[in-house]
Symmetry: C2
Subunit: 189 residues, 2 copies
């Protein structure tokens, strides 16, 4: 069952933008994050939610999309995320966040998939500009932005044994192909 | 459903050590990790599996357990993990692993819970000694060790609003209590 969720949890970057996501839905996803493991149980992560058009636009403008798709600057208007979750590290709790944000980001996205949504972890962020735009205190380090919405694209998993490379690509039918390394390459002992 | 898994996925540190875990089970968990998101899809993580008594002991000796339980040095013989997964970063692929290991560690542990197992992410590791003992090439950075087994302890989640602190503790019935921050403390905008 979990495997079905994990397989369906692709990095979606095109959405039905008119599909609204309620703040309550985002809060339910954060409640999953809340119950996750955290290094030394410090729980230093804080979250900013966005599901309104205006705030969504401010966040969208500070994200860099899909580095390997050189001729695609990101989702066009109409295909943009309906919501965002900004994951912050609270430096008043600790200065190092280990992989806590990976733990919660994955849990949030799996939760989104279970709700019929999908999303993408965006790590390429104009951090200074985003902090300024949303008036985020220097107390918080911007770790990741999760873009969320109702997916509007088909993504298929391939093997790097076939593609010879890890770079994802889109075919002429706009299907997004993601090469993954085979099991015997990643288990080394 | 996912919430049930996430809630049940506690950081277990005492196990029914005589409960065997097959290598095939560990490989199935790595197959979940294989399908997870990875920064720039680089997939730099590699995995070492252990489910035999001898290798388990070598790994166990290099782990530091439960920092807040000052009078507990770790699980006694008979309550130790039945298996381990060592998560490595392959520096020939990239030098920085972001939060990839958090993403896969959480996915692996959720998979373990679904299989009736449980485990703990251990970040406090005698890395040099572990690398030497298992002859792990300097090519690989040791990121995390996942201890796995059939849990033999009861863990309850509490609110930091009650405990006033994030430190986990054991009561006199050996129940492990883990305080988590409430939702309105971690959603800040």
């Amino acid at each position: 069952m979990l495997k079905r969720l994990i397989t369906k949890n692709r990095s979606y970057r095109r959405f039905h933008q008119d599909h609204k996501i309620e703040r309550q839905t985002l809060a339910e996803l954060i409640d999953l994050a809340r119950l996750c493991p955290s290094g030394a149980n410090l729980q230093p992560l804080k979250y900013i939610l966005s599901c309104g058009a205006e705030k969504n636009t401010l966040i969208f403008e500070q994200l860099v999309w899909a580095g390997y798709l050189k001729d695609w600057a990101g989702p066009a208007d109409g295909e943009r995320p309906s919501a965002y979750i900004i994951i912050l590290g609270d430096t008043e709790i600790t200065k190092t966040f280990g992989c806590d944000h990976g733990i919660t980001a994955q849990s949030i996205l799996l939760g989104a998939v279970e709700k019929g949504l999908g999303g993408c972890m965006v790590g390429s962020i104009h951090r200074k500009e985003l902090a300024k735009t949303l008036d985020i205190s220097p107390r918080y380090e911007i770790l990741l932005v999760l873009a969320l919405g109702k997916p509007k694209e088909q993504i298929t998993i391939e093997s790097t044994e076939i593609t010879g490379d890890i770079k994802y690509y889109r075919d002429d039918k706009q299907i997004h192909h993601v090469p993954k390394r085979p099991l015997d390459e990643i288990i080394i002992g």
